[in-house]
Amino acid sequence: MNLSRQPAYWLFVMLVFVGVVIVGSQQLGYVATYPQAWFLSILLLAAVAIPVGLIVYRLDQFEPEPAALIAVALLWGGVVALSFAAIANSSALTFLQHILPSKQVDSWGAALVAPIDEEFYKGAGLVMIFLIARNEIDGLMDGLVYGAMIGLGFQVMENIQYFMHAAAQSGGGQLGPVVGTFFVRVLVAGLYSHMLFTGLLGFGFAYFVTRRAAPWGIRAGVFALFTALAWAAHFVWNSPWLESLMAGSAGSFILALIIKGLPFLLLLLLLGLFARRREAQAFSKLMVEEVGSDVVTQEEFQVLKSGRRRRAVLRQMKKQKGPTARQVLKRLQREQMNLALFHSKVDTPGHPAIEVQRDKIRQLKAQLAAFA
């Protein structure tokens, strides 16, 4: 995929450059002042963010998003959105100080300002990805994945700020406060954060741009609804509600987190399941002409439809015929699934590109047969 052909890509590059100057200088300051705490922060966050990122990436099992666009989403969240939102948040809080009593700003400032600014800038990332590669957002799951990835990038970089602030608070860049903050912000509360908020936003955005058959008003309404949901989830999370519960024992603290975050998380999980089912239905529809042929047998199709079955078959292959055979089978599965993509892009089943793909699959099948 050549992203550089799109003018929007160059706008993205320019904005990343601005963001890198802002975030990069901040990070260099952290490394110079508290090197050990900074490296520990990176290690801890990588240990969680990499597997979480992979899980989100794998949500879209029928059409994994291009790595380049996933990188765009992560960079947008962690560099561009974070930089712009920090500036806008400070200005908006200054504005609130002029119009609200000080106590109200202390209580509600973060809840009023952060959802509007941060969801706006993270949402702009979805628009940017759409402008760079609009063909890649062709299902609800795509919006959810890109939204969650933008949120993940934002969350990781924001957490570094929190960790380094905790290290600075200790007076000498000590490691204990970094681990403590990691426990609370990532292990305890990490699920109810930016990935969740922007995942909701991404779902609504994908509905708006992909459901072209639906009336414009409904598409706009659904997008507005999910924007409001993302904002509401962020607002509730930042609000001072249940603070007396949060200030109590560890049990009541966790109870407060569950009350504030779990309903929205469950909603996102339901949306994920819904989007996944839609993708599976679309996959079955696109493969209808192939199933039962020498390219995709009925048994293979049943395996392809389920991530669990695909992994089970791969394990079995490795056990019976070794890791190389497993690799070939994995490629075969991927190419068979890509066949559905080809069908979605061209109108005629006899299109030369589809024939080429079928031949590729036949060759992989022959390679696999050689292992017997």
Binding site: I87, S91, V105, D117, Y121
Partner: protein, 165 residues
């Protein structure tokens, strides 16, 4: 994107008494001590009346007060006294161990960062104290959780702008 940022910046600039250059002039604290507010910080006297010998400022959701008075104890004693007063105003209060810092271009001091729950919500803040020649200087900044870090460089600059005669 940029337009939204400019919009909120404009709101912040035009909605209140920014007073620009006027705020850049040194403000007098007690004992002849002065401090110079950083650009963007405006008086918070109407929301936080800190009395004579002190000045309160606000910016980006953060309230900061600077005060100076005669004090004959040690820096540590001054810190403990201030922390005791602070704790009384919070429902729950957590503070990290004090760390050495400096103010007024070289005057040694102690810094404590704290967080807690008060009537107005989940707050965090920074308390810096120093003593020199019978004068005690205190800086207290309070903000919604997560906001102090955003203005840390401003606070450091204002602490360094202190002039103790």
């Amino acid at each position: 994107m940029v337009a939204w940022m400019l919009f909120v910046m404009a709101l912040a600039s035009f909605s209140g008494p920014t007073a620009g250059a006027a705020q850049q002039t040194p403000a007098s604290l007690g004992q002849g001590v002065t401090m110079t507010p950083v650009d963007g910080w405006v008086s918070a006297q109407d929301v936080w009346n800190v009395g004579p010998g002190a000045v309160s400022l606000q910016h980006a959701g953060v309230l900061a007060a600077f005060a100076a008075d005669s004090y004959s104890g040690t820096t540590r004693q001054l810190l403990d006294r201030q922390l005791g007063d602070l704790k009384a105003q919070f429902g729950s209060f957590r503070s990290l161990p004090p760390a050495s810092t400096s103010m007024a271009e070289g005057v040694p001091g102690l810094k404590v960062l704290f967080s807690g729950t008060a009537d107005s919500g989940d707050l965090e803040g920074e308390l810096v104290v120093g003593t020199i020649g019978g004068t005690g200087v205190v800086m207290l900044a309070v903000a919604p959780a997560g906001q102090v870090a955003q203005v840390q460089s401003d606070l450091d600059a204002m602490l360094n702008s202190l002039v103790v005669p």
